[in-house]
Symmetry: C2
Subunit: 305 residues, 2 copies
Amino acid sequence: MATITSNFTNVKSTVHFPCISNQHRSHLHLKKPTTVRMSMTQQTRNSHPYWASMQADIEAHIKQFFTIKEPLEVFEPIHHFIFSAPKTTVPTLCLAACELVGGERHQAISAASALLLMEAATYTHEHLPLTDKPKPKPKPESEMKHVYGPSMELLSFEAIVPFGFELLARSDYGENSEKILRVMIEISRAVGSEGVIDAQYRKTMGSRSDGEEMRHVEEMRRVVEKYEGGLHSCGAVCGGVLGGGSEEEIERLRKFGLYVGMIQGMVKRGFNESKEVDEARDLAIQELEFFKDKEVDAIKTFLNI
Amino acid sequence: MATITSNFTNVKSTVHFPCISNQHRSHLHLKKPTTVRMSMTQQTRNSHPYWASMQADIEAHIKQFFTIKEPLEVFEPIHHFIFSAPKTTVPTLCLAACELVGGERHQAISAASALLLMEAATYTHEHLPLTDKPKPKPKPESEMKHVYGPSMELLSFEAIVPFGFELLARSDYGENSEKILRVMIEISRAVGSEGVIDAQYRKTMGSRSDGEEMRHVEEMRRVVEKYEGGLHSCGAVCGGVLGGGSEEEIERLRKFGLYVGMIQGMVKRGFNESKEVDEARDLAIQELEFFKDKEVDAIKTFLNI
């Protein structure tokens, strides 16, 4: 168990994060899930009261703007897909970055919520049964349950993305509209054709080319860079922008987020003991050195994979 | 042939719009296409040099920000779906509304482009082959050709929506960020769960309940109100906001756009000679009376269905 001191939520408190040894992580080795899914370490971290409180704040914010109403056949599936999609650390990193640069959590809560929504939409999309996809093998834990049928899943996906942008656009109170637009550009790029879409395409091609999951390290690196790397990088930048960080701080956070995401992506794909992971961790720590006058212990826990 | 005088693009010019008689429109009667597709009258209107120039401006604007690059397998399909989707009058109405309230076309070009992109994404989505959809009957003219396969179609759909928001967010030059955020909220709502998604759900349920296209007038009205009505209403509002219209002007444009869209939607579904169409046309003309000091002849042509 590691003990760190954090000043999140403006209250100096001591929180305990479990250290997961390599032995305990061995079950991840070479297990290659195909979806945005938390590793065991991420699940453990998010189940910690402090991280859970961040996640709860984000979900409460979304619920404030999204209520289930008539027709229930439309709103219930959307609600289901938003809150049943596996959680990642992208939205919480956004809040942590905001607080690192001196902002308050509420300033980045809409961006964090939009990021959660985009990831929920991506998850829904990745599991959509299309006529050119092979019928998935039964994987009870990882597969999304098709409760509502493919057409409603697609409609939900189509509804979640604009809802994310709307939620973000509505968070302007006449003071920070330029920052919000900047964050929108960051999110659009991260989830768009040069980000997640590119990674999804490479993943599809990779899994088709050899009849199963791709194994080539270089190609895996590219996917991870655009996918988990790009999303975490975006999350950190959004938090930095909305928290009022300087340009230098924002660029440091961009790189830090990239390395955090790459580590997570590589570990998820079974490369948890590789030199690439060690290198990325060293680079991430170097970026944090820029913030030596700030409280970095909390954000550093994103490297505890 | 009707002759009207227009001061669009700040050049006083006389343009000619073809009048389509009811006889010529008879082929539309009770023909009920299920997609966002131009009626013959819309095609005719958009093929007019003036309307074609508006459409060309919008497409040129999109091309300026979207270039085909590597990996071609990702960018080519996106390009294809953006520019091959049937055109509607929603983006052009956005520009016309902007000019009506005294704005210049370039002020609304990003919103018009975003609207075109959202409609292209919706069209791609509606034609996505899902495992719970019946295999479509061969309709060579109306069906989208599945050149790239369902997975690439879905990826393209997923890429086009954030690209639309990005394009809009990037159109801020530090002067109109609040207006852009307002327009984003309008677009998100129009294409989201309370707009197009609701209409698509109703359409799906309607077509399933009786084994073919729904026929009930009341239900058709609801679909048309959310779909074509909501989108045209949104287009007109976006143009009004970005063109610097007053709140009263914007609300008049909201209603005018709604009626324009409802007329188009009803005509498309074969109700072209109904009292509902006549009523909607009268109400639309009433809204335009508010602009009696402005040049309304051009925007009035949106009623020439």
